[in-house]
């Protein structure tokens, strides 16, 4: 409770200059209003108009929304996005967290080396990554099959060429690319742990896994929380990997919101339904962030501050 009192005190003291405190929020607000809020309002307006071939836009009411929601592709996209979220986020957290834990607590001389090597995929350009992975997945002339053959596995098709497996194959690439990011986040979290807490826990007899699970994991809550948020954001923003590797195919099996919106507005030239899709994504995003703030904001945060 002391914390709250301190903050309240800071606030009280400066009450006379409360308005100047809003200067802290002003730059972000300005940037937001001009470069984010305005474009979103523009998109929202467009979503109610349909472009005709003669170039004029006519008011279309909810027609764009109706046509998007009745498009079977939309539901493939929703399914793919759900899969993407549910698989990518926990797997990345788990692998990234384990790597961070072992690297930070059990390596010394090679710490910088490991941190760098596992992080490399994050800084690698997506166009290279997609080209490389298409090549890895290729049967017959790819590199994975060349080595798998030696252990008796024969690849008959490319995982990204089969509608049933394409989305999973893309998820694997995504996890590979971004796990280093989760690792870095947890490294920042571990670096931020007050060492007296760890010492206290160790004196209490917590060791190895017990120390890790009961002391460190709860204390990494801010990192986990951030990763969860960023994971959802990253999922909805997914575009280049899918665009470059499968183009959303075969037969739209691996379509995601990014590629779907891109196709509608840029390839098919249907700005209206592209905009309607964007608004739908916005609504989904709003729901997700409210849920996250309600659930995680309330529960995880204080637990991290509790003294053991």
């Amino acid at each position: 409770m002391r914390a709250g009192a301190a903050v309240a005190a800071v606030r009280r003291r400066s009450a006379s200059r409360a308005s100047t405190l809003y200067l802290f929020a002003l730059p972000a607000t300005l940037l937001f209003v001009v470069f984010v809020a305005y474009p979103i309002l523009w998109v929202a307006e467009q979503s109610f108009y349909a472009g005709r071939t003669d170039g004029a836009a006519v008011f279309a009411g909810l027609a764009n929304y109706r046509s998007v929601l009745s498009d079977p592709t939309f539901w493939i996209v929703v399914r793919n996005m759900a899969l993407w979220c549910v698989i990518t986020i926990p797997v990345q957290m788990l692998i990234g967290g384990l790597l961070a834990y072992f690297i930070e607590r059990h390596t010394h001389a090679l710490r910088g080396f490991f941190r760098t090597m596992f992080f490399l995929p994050v800084v690698t350009s997506v166009s290279v990554i997609s080209l490389v992975w298409v090549q890895i997945y290729a049967p017959y002339y790819g590199i994975a099959q060349e080595y798998l053959r030696h252990v008796g596995i024969v690849m008959m098709t490319s995982p990204i060429g089969d509608p049933k497996t394409a989305i999973y194959a893309l998820i694997v690439v995504n996890i590979w690319q971004w796990t280093g990011f989760s690792m870095l986040m947890y490294i920042a979290g571990i670096a931020n742990l007050p060492s007296e807490v760890l010492d206290a826990a160790r004196i209490d007899g917590a060791k190895g896994w017990r120390l890790a699970v009961h002391v460190i994991v709860p204390m990494l809550a801010p990192a986990t929380k951030s990763l969860l948020l960023l994971g959802v954001i990253g999922t909805l923003q997914t575009f280049p990997i899918v665009h470059l590797m499968t183009g959303g195919g075969p037969n739209r099996a691996s379509e995601v919101f990014g590629t779907f919106i891109f196709k509608q507005s840029f390839v098919l030239g249907d700005t209206g339904s592209g905009a309607a899709l964007s608004v739908i994504v916005l609504v989904i995003a709003l729901a997700l962030s409210l849920i996250q703030i309600a659930v995680l904001g309330a529960r995880l945060s204080p637990a991290g501050k509790e003294k053991p």
């Binding site: 090597m117 060492s195 951030s226």
Partner: protein, 278 residues
């Protein structure tokens, strides 16, 4: 029974071994990429991780054929400015949100968070119109400010989470010492979340350095182009030499790796700072 020391050394060896094995698999695509950059067109898509002999011709070609100096400078100016703005603006906002708990800041936080999830493909058209109206097409500022606006929410999420988790006693101590809000922000909040600041810096640098969607529509004149434009000419339909593409992309990634190697040490310093405080 093994002696505890021997056992801990044993454990160290096992952990290193496991890390190396995992790393070995992890690096396969990366090694393959570098290897393609060192291949002649004839070997480019050979089904092997390594080919022999290696050639540096691709690197020579892309360095010779592109005015990398000027392009590099464009990228650097835009990236550094964006990172500076994002770090400054987002830490101020996170402070307002997490420590000052200003009225309405949570609402704004949620809004920012939500809009962060809208795919960039939807924002390209309105941003293009906006920048045209401002007369900011083909200017640095026309790219820096939108980048900053799109980067702030992301940085803010991280900084807010870390500030909320910082020990509150320190803020109270600052109050007792007579610090006002600005001083508290500068002397207490920022040093406390240094690992997160480093993280945000690295992140924003990478994102800005690699971004091409907006760069395409804002910088339409060749002399304004950033580094991301260079690989395009090697990745198109007419690409005759994949090695050149991989070579140029390796060159573009180098500054990022260098930056990362340099600043990741800041994490260690953050750790030490914590120990001193205790």
């Amino acid at each position: 029974m093994m002696a505890p020391l021997a056992r801990s050394r044993m454990r160290g060896v096992v952990i290193h071994a496991v890390l190396f094995i995992v790393l070995g698999f992890w690096m396969v695509p990366q090694v393959y990429m570098l290897s393609i950059g060192l291949r002649t067109p004839a070997q480019a898509f050979d089904a092997a991780l390594f080919t022999w002999p290696v050639t540096f011709d691709n690197f020579v070609t892309v360095i010779r054929d592109n005015p990398l100096g000027g392009i590099f400078l464009n990228s650097l100016i835009i990236t550094v400015a964006t990172v500076a703005i994002v770090v400054a603006v987002s830490s101020l906002f996170a402070f307002a949100c997490a420590i000052l708990r200003l009225k309405g800041s949570m609402l704004l936080y949620t809004t920012l968070l939500t809009t962060l999830m809208v795919p960039l493909a939807s924002m390209v058209l309105p941003l293009a119109i906006l920048l045209k109206n401002f007369g900011w097409v083909n200017t640095y500022i026309g790219l820096i400010l939108p980048y900053a606006a799109l980067g702030v929410p992301f940085a803010m999420v991280i900084l807010k989470a870390f500030m909320e988790d910082a020990p509150r006693e320190l803020f109270e101590a600052a109050r007792v010492d007579g610090c006002n809000a600005w001083q508290t922000y500068w002397h207490v909040a920022l040093p406390l979340v240094r690992p997160a600041l480093v993280f945000v810096t690295i992140w924003q640098f990478i994102v800005t350095w690699n971004e091409f969607f907006l760069a395409l529509i804002v910088l339409t004149r060749s002399e304004m182009k950033t580094l991301t434009i260079v690989p395009m000419q090697y990745s198109g339909l007419y690409m005759a030499n994949p090695g050149a593409l991989f070579a140029i992309l390796t060159l573009i990634a180098l500054p990022l790796i260098l930056l990362y190697v340099l600043v990741q040490r800041a994490f260690v310093r953050g750790l030490l700072a914590g120990a001193v405080k205790g």
